[in-house]
């Protein structure tokens, strides 16, 4: 398979995952705000921090109002992580690789793009937002379902999986980072358990957590579950384990496997004792840096190998 095509499929899958996860985050957060009494809301800027986009946001808006933040996340053309920009990027990447994917995949991504183009602006107000975000999540999952159930078990699929898994691991760690930060700042408020429930909900992890850990929502077990569950498909460790398997299937050299093993070692070494906020930050920073190295080695190995 062509190196260029492999790279585009990888990014197509990353953008698709990114738009799904951003929708989940925005939806869960909007939901949460409805439950909180006036005055204790942690503020909408948390969502911007999740995407590491504070500076970009500041260039476009002055006030961190709900409207501005949601607009930035859903509809902004200049924010490369907005739903609109992600859908566009996913579509462009598929447009240039549509010859290797089944025809309906292109139709679905095209419909998703048209849907977001058409609805994003109107979905900024609360009234239509949930409907819109659930629709986007559903469409993205439909597309992933189509890919998983119809694409040949072969290189194109593996490169899409690499993109999806790496993006998912990255987004889960971001969501935990920001969620935990927001919550830990508000320890005295009686609604705190709601916030934790909300964090789980944004990752579709609520019932999985209850079955595996228990009914009580405790900060540390939640963070631990989202990072190191071997069974929950959105946990960071689960994604990294799958990445390892894919990389093995693609017959990557040892160096790449070593980089992934390092992430696994870090996750497994997670301290079971309650972590301070500073420690958690440092832990996640290190994790994200390791994931970025993994991404870099994908490029060196497959997408842009020098010397040929």
């Amino acid at each position: 398979m062509l190196s260029r095509v492999a790279e585009r499929l990888y990014w197509m899958a990353r953008y698709l995952e990114r738009l799904e996860d951003t929708s989940r985050l925005a939806n869960a957060y909007s939901h949460l705000i409805l439950d909180l009494p006036r005055g204790v809301e942690p503020g909408w800027s948390v969502l911007i921090d999740t995407l590491n986009a504070r500076e970009r946001f500041r260039r476009r808006y002055t006030r961190e109002t709900e409207r501005n933040v949601i607009k930035f996340l859903l509809a902004d053309r200049d924010n490369p992580s907005s739903l609109r920009a992600s859908a566009r990027a996913a579509r462009e990447n598929m447009r240039t690789t549509r010859d290797v994917l089944p025809a309906p995949a292109w139709e679905l991504v095209n419909e998703l793009y048209l849907f977001i183009e058409d609805q994003a602006d109107a979905s900024v107000p609360r009234a239509g937002r949930a409907r819109f975000l659930l629709d986007v999540i559903g469409r993205a999952q439909q597309l992933n379902g189509l890919i998983e159930s119809t694409v040949l078990r072969d290189q194109p699929l593996y490169f899409m999986r690499l993109g999806r898994l790496l993006e998912r691991a990255d987004m889960t760690s971001r969501i935990v980072d920001v969620g935990a930060t927001a919550i830990l700042k508000l320890t005295s408020v009686p609604e705190v358990p709601l916030l934790w429930a909300n964090l789980l909900m944004s990752l579709s992890a609520t019932s999985a957590y209850r079955r595996k850990v228990g009914p009580t929502l405790m900060p540390n077990p939640i963070v631990d579950f989202l990072f190191t569950s071997e069974q929950f498909p959105r946990s960071v460790l689960y994604c990294v384990n799958e990445l390892e398997e894919m990389v093995g299937t693609l017959k990557a050299p040892r160096g790449l496997l070593v980089k992934l093993r390092e992430v696994v070692t870090q996750l497994r070494g997670m301290d079971a004792e309650p972590m301070s906020l500073t420690d958690l930050h440092a832990f996640i920073d290190e994790l994200q840096q390791r994931l970025a190295f993994v991404d870099e080695s994908f490029h060196e190995q497959w997408f842009d190998p020098g010397g040929r």
Binding site: M1, L2, S3, R4, R95, R98, D99, W106, Q155
Partner: protein, 495 residues
């Protein structure tokens, strides 16, 4: 006035299109579905009857469904303009154009005949040049042409075929006779729309297919693959065929991707390929892989910066060396464009007689060559009635339609002809045939042409029908999608 003849569906009192069709008349041209006396042609009777049962509102709903399908299927083409390149949805008219299978079979034989003669000509001019020595075609016309490529001299492509994929533009004259308007031998496009148009019709008007036996069109990608595979220099079970595209900003990119997927071939850009030891390789995640056949959708002059334009970023350096060495097949072969010139076109009937000893089955359109003094005088005297075309443009660019142009444009055109007579031909203004077309909710006659595609490798194959392009503006004869043309599904129907 055709506009007055067109009956408005919405205004039709009974609400039935059946009535609406009764007022339909072509403005003095051959109409594909309705005869001069207003009666439906026998081959189209079932179609018109079935469409007639749909109310105006239903028909409009189906057209809207078709437009939505096109958007959702992402069927698009790119228009180049000063304001930047715009990706437009493919314009499609719901009412199919119907051709009797019996008539089509003879046209298909004629197209295959023409393609054989053209390939014999290209092979001849790059090798022995017999036709030039015998004076059938003036030697300077070929040898001085910008399309004659020195780099192609003495090459012996597989089966002595150069133009493997051609898209022949056909029109019907006033009497309904099909004539060849142009041979497109370089990188003709449009075939993907033939398949997509059929797909849309099946989605939107499925009931029409119950009562008709319509020849299927979706075999094309398989036939194309077989044709390309038959050119492979290596005798392997499944040769590596690639489709070379200039990239996503090319107007036909949609089609490049469509065909690559249809054939299970890689869609490559120039940077994906490289040449080593006169062999072509592509860069893959598993390392370099040998390429056997390149179906190139890039113009000759961009194909190899070493051999042609050194500013080309689209091509592959050394690719011509590999081709000359016989290590890779290129379709269409570089240099095929020498026979795709509106002046050379005029000599095709002679080529058919010369190489094949046969009479042409599908005639040319009458053509005046401005390089001939007597023709030129006639053209200059009658410029207001003629269509003047530059020899080397495509896509409808540079054409002067006499009856639709101003006196100032006539004078400018005449001046261009006198300055460079070799580069111009003229043809009578054709009464292109028409077909019923949905325009602003009414059924009105619009002019159309037809582009069938001919494959030639070890064997040959002609698409059943082809791409019908329709000029959506009233009275317009320009059908190119880049200039406001639309398209129709084309049915070859067994009667």
């Amino acid at each position: 006035m055709p506009e007055r003849l067109a009956t408005r569906i919405r205004a039709s009192r009974s609400g039935s299109v059946g009535k609406a069709w009764q007022g339909y008349r072509s403005p003095g041209c051959y109409d594909e579905l309705i005869r001069d006396d207003g009666r439906t042609r026998p081959i189209a009777r079932r179609l018109v009857r079935q469409l007639g049962r749909l109310s105006g509102a239903e028909l409009a709903a189906r057209q809207a469904a078709a437009d939505l399908s096109i958007r959702e299927m992402g069927i698009s083409f790119t228009v180049y303009s000063d304001a930047g390149n715009i990706d437009r949805a493919w314009p499609f008219d719901l009412i199919p154009r119907v051709i009797p299978a019996k008539e089509w079979r003879s046209v298909a034989v004629g197209l295959a005949q023409r393609t054989r003669a053209l390939n014999a000509f290209i092979h001849d001019v790059y090798n022995r040049q017999k036709i030039l020595a015998d004076g059938i075609v003036p030697a300077e016309l070929v040898l001085d042409s910008p399309n004659f490529r020195e780099a192609c001299r003495d090459v012996q492509p597989a089966h002595q075929v150069w133009a493997h994929i051609t898209g022949v533009d056909l029109v019907r004259d006033g009497a309904g006779q099909f004539r060849v308007l142009e041979d497109n031998l370089r990188v003709p496009s449009g075939v993907s729309y033939v398949l997509e148009n059929r797909e849309i019709t099946k989605r939107v008007l499925p009931e029409l297919f119950e009562n008709h036996s319509i020849l299927p069109v979706d075999d094309y990608p398989n036939r194309l693959f077989e044709t390309l595979a038959s050119l492979s220099p290596r005798r392997v079970k499944r040769p590596t065929v690639v489709v070379l595209t200039p990239g996503i900003y090319n107007s036909a990119y949609f089609e490049h991707a469509f065909l690559a997927r249809g054939m299970g071939a890689e869609l490559v850009e120039g940077t994906d390929l490289f040449v080593e030891d006169d062999q072509v390789f592509m860069r893959t995640v598993d390392g370099p892989r040998r390429v056997d056949v390149i179906y190139r959708r890039v113009d000759d002059e961009f194909i190899d910066p070493e051999a042609f334009r050194d500013d080309s970023a689209l091509g592959i350096a050394g690719c011509m060396r590999a081709w000359r060495a016989g290590n890779v097949a290129i379709a269409n072969a570089p240099g095929s464009g020498v026979a795709d010139d509106k002046v050379i076109y005029a000599f095709v009937p002679e080529m058919i007689r010369y190489y094949l000893g046969e009479e042409p089955i599908v005639p040319n359109v009458e053509t005046y060559l401005c390089m001939r003094e007597s023709d030129r005088e006639y053209v200059l005297d009658n410029i207001a009635d003629l269509v003047v075309k530059p020899a080397n443009e495509s896509g409808g660019y540079g054409i002067m339609v006499g009856p639709h142009a101003s006196a100032k444009e006539h004078r400018a055109c005449a001046a261009r002809i006198e300055k460079d007579p070799r580069n111009y031909i003229a043809q009578p203004t054709l009464a292109l045939s028409t077909a019923p077309t949905i325009c602003d909710g009414a059924i009105a006659p619009r002019h159309l042409d037809l582009r069938p595609f001919v494959l030639q490798g070890r064997d040959h194959w002609v698409t059943p029908g082809g791409l019908t392009r329709v000029a959506l503006r009233e009275g317009s004869l320009v059908v190119n999608s880049s200039q406001g043309g639309g398209s129709k599904d084309t049915w070859i129907v067994e009667s």
